[in-house]
Amino acid sequence: MSQIFFKEFNSFLNSLIGYLVMGVFLIVMGLLMWVFKDTSVLDYGYADLSTLFSFGPYVLIFLVPAITMRSFSEERKLGTLELLMTKPLTELDIVLGKFLASFALVIISLLPTLVYYFTLYSLGNPEGNIDTPGVIGSFIGMILLGGVFCSIGMLASSITPNQIVSFIIAAFFCYVFYMGWDSVALLISDGESSLVVRQLGILYHYESMSKGLIDSRDLIYFLSLGGLMLVSTKTVLSSRSW
């Protein structure tokens, strides 16, 4: 598994993709946080990172599928998947190695935004007037969300040899899982079943974590959704239905 991980991770760093993803994410977040009038913290008046944590997932909806789209699609198209699958590796090794490489790239892209915390910490009035537990919760939430997006991307990539199709499917399902269930919930008048539907979506759990309370139910949600996607990916690979 570690062999696959390092190979994939190196290929991100040896190609433009890795730097592009990190660069675009940080540029977009930087502009939204500090430059654009509508969303800038400087004009907002409160020292909080809500801009980062509410817009970040939307940027990730596009960037994560761009990272993951090639992982299986390209290998299938080039035939190199046959090389991997005839090596003494289990399908799970291959899936996990590739998943962790994408996930690592996402985490590395997110890490520099920690600087924003320290900036706002000193901008607060009085200094340090910032909801630290909320930031920690949100940050962990965003990392978990990135992981779930990666796992969705893995599944999308495993079902098609076409990278563009893989990107579109992954972006669509990232959106559906992030926002879609909430939108569906709004259509349901019955309060209780509406809540159940909301809880299917990532947003509900992400918002709950951003309050600074790390609830095991939210963690279980993220882990099981990610796990489900990865197991499905493994099943697709094992079936070799191509």
């Binding site: 062999q3 696959i4 190979k7 290929s11 040896n14 190609s15 080039l78 035939g79 190199t80 046959e82 090389l83 991997l84 699958m85 005839t86 090596k87 003494p88 590796l89 289990t90 070799r240």
Partner: protein
Amino acid sequence: MSIKVSNLTKVYGQQKAVDGVSFSVNEGEIVGFLGPNGAGKSTTMKIITGFIPPTGGMVEVAGENVVDNPISVKRNIGYLPEHNPLYLDMYVHEYLNFTAGLYGLNAASRKSRVLEMVRLCGLTAEQNKRIVTLSKGYRQRVGLAQALIHNPKVLVLDEPTSGLDPNQLIEIRRLIKTVSKDKTVLFSTHILQEVEALCDRVVVINEGKIVADDRLINLLQGAANYLVVEFADNVVKQDLMQIEGVEHVRQLENFRFQITATQGKDIRPIIVTWAVQKNLSLIELKLEESSLESVFSQLTSMEEKSIS
């Protein structure tokens, strides 16, 4: 270490790609796997190497079932897939090192194996290049190097020489010959000289079924030899049929015929005597020994044969 395939079947939708194939490759043997395109060679090899699961039947490599123990079977096999897929954006060294790592070699032995493979496969001049910049012949060497990196006991090579120019062909063939000394090798091809150059035994497959499995010499002996004769004068097929020992006559051109003699009989003197008696000028008399080509086309085009 041997490969044993018994009653292997693979069905894609409605189509039977491999249909009840059984054969075995004994330890230390080089076996050529022959067949026209689409006969099921690649499918069989993909099943042997554990890439695709069989629909029915069983494959054993060194006594272990591919479906039950995929990991340990894969550890024993070096495989060069058809079209030789490679990670084109990797460097030769990087790629071989990665492959060695997949086989679980430790860092020290990985380094020495990579160097050994580079030397053995003649990649010394190209070892620091990216695979994408290599020519087809060198890519093929890289493909072979990755198949050999863990010193496997069984080699499965799917069309290792397809698309190479004649010089590269000879080099790759020599390379296969060198590395396969102490290995069990199954390789597929549709280049027949290659089989003659490399193999002990041939397995011929057509439309998913084994049509021949024999030593090369036996296959060649079994096929009928025929004569080609040409006369300057008017001769008709019926006249030739009268000659003793002639079994079958086919008109090639006006006065040119292909004669099949009764098994094991040399009828050349009889034909010469016959021509003299009839006062005909015989301008060509040639014995065509059955080549692997003719055996191959006989075996793989049964319906054509029955028409002629």
